[in-house]
């Protein structure tokens, strides 16, 4: 268990709802869920969620902390926003799912083998490096995220698609060498570092129970 996770368990005891309200993006909306289930029925990957959004909201209120934070469920969100526009109570469900996923990762509880967990982290690392996404490196890092053998298999399997993208100049081998970048990488990195520090301090503060 990560130190932060221990601190949060200590701090909130049996009040997981409060913990979510304090630490999860848009988490203060969770209590507004009226359990109608429209979100779950509207989700394009609904059948694959162990616990669809409506269920997650009830589990949060019921204090099922570990089940929620270790769940693969919120990593199934495609960000289609169907749930948001259909929710009669106007909960920003998509954002809460992203927020729960991020918080689970922050505490070291997220399922590390879940493919979207990996892809999402790869995407973030990729964009942070130069300020702009390098699609070629992102694609390759994704193919190889399950190891070398698996990576070669996936690459061969996807070769047709890659060739099509290359032929139409929608992919460039040049991205491997330099690649697109913001000019002010120094300012860009300083800015992100600061934002991360401020956010970490906020979570830390709740963790300490001040």
């Amino acid at each position: 268990m990560s130190d932060m996770n221990v601190a949060m368990v200590e701090r909130y005891r049996n009040n997981f709802l409060k913990e979510v309200e304090h630490n999860v993006e848009e988490g203060d909306w969770v209590k507004m869920c009226m359990q109608c289930g429209v979100c779950s029925g509207s989700c394009p990957l609904g059948p694959y969620w162990d616990h669809p959004p409506q269920e997650l909201f009830m589990m949060i209120r019921a204090g099922k902390r570990e089940e929620v934070l270790t769940s693969t469920s919120m990593w199934m969100c495609t960000s289609c926003y169907n749930c948001i526009v259909r929710c009669p109570r106007e909960l920003p469900i998509t954002h809460i799912m992203h927020g729960l996923a991020h918080y689970a990762k922050r505490l070291g509880l997220a399922p590390k083998e879940q493919p979207t967990f990996k892809f999402s982290q790869h995407f973030w690392n990729n964009l942070v490096k130069k300020g702009r996404v390098n699609e070629l490196k992102l694609g390759l890092s994704l193919y190889f995220m399950n190891g070398l053998v698996e990576g070669i298999k996936t690459s061969l399997n996807m070769a047709g698609i890659g060739l099509g993208m290359l032929k139409t100049k929608r992919m460039s081998p040049m991205e491997m060498i330099g690649g697109h970048s913001v000019k002010d990488t120094k300012g860009f990195h300083a800015m992100l570092k600061k934002a991360e520090e401020i956010e970490a301090a906020r979570v830390e503060k709740y963790g300490k129970g001040s």
Partner: protein, 299 residues
Amino acid sequence: MATKEYSFYPGCSSQEGASSSNYLVSVESMCEELDVKLNTIPDWNCCSASIGYCGGGELPRLTLSARNLALSEEHNPGQDVVATCAACWLATRETAERLGEDDDLMAETNQALAEAGLTFKNENKIRHMVEVLIDDFGYEELGKHVKKPLEGIKIAGYVGCQTNRPFGIEGESFENPKYLDKLVETLGAEPVENYEKKVSCCGGALAFSEPEKSQALIKEIIESAYDGGADMIVTPCPVCQMNVEVYQDKINAKYGTKFHIPVTYYSTLMSVAYGRSAKDSALGGQIIRAKQLEDIANK
């Protein structure tokens, strides 16, 4: 009409050698014909789309978009910010709205931006290119520029998710938006009526991480276009375009279907209808070639 100017956020996928570089080419041609000047935000960065949340917390993600908006305020003062990518538009507009509602987050964002010598004031509107076309021009005006009507082509307007929800286009419903159909009609082509999957999700970024599940969604989007008699599909979103176009062979192999349907951008259609060449319309960017459009462009 006088030249219209906008502050332009092109986004990562539009760059040279990236997956929607063809979108940008056709947008530039379309804008030339409409006398629209796009002033690119200098040194813009990635918005983190809707998939950076594992590594990126709320504040770092909001700060990404706030940096673009601060640069826009500084270099393109007073201009509406326009994005062509659905995810860019969504992330940027969400940032402006959330920071507009939360003074603490706004203060924290500006604290981070100060490290890059920037300040965000939240002064301008953030719009999708489709909004510019519909609200600032309107179908009638857009129709006046048509030199080569796209006659005899039946097109399924695949609106997808992120240009439609949660913001959408003013006056359109979330469940059955009609603007693409109207645009198709304006260009002289025939829209597929009642295209059932017009707002269904293609899996978005999860097409990479959950390929089988996403391809099952994409299959239905294409099937429903064929059911409506479509010759091609048109979309306003780079992720929709790519997902629906590039996986057709994979889907055919798995499901025994025979899909081979071009998927274009609205700007591709407009560029061709406005009389621009195949090159200016970026028809070479189609992995599944849009032969009917090539014929019209080469006429």
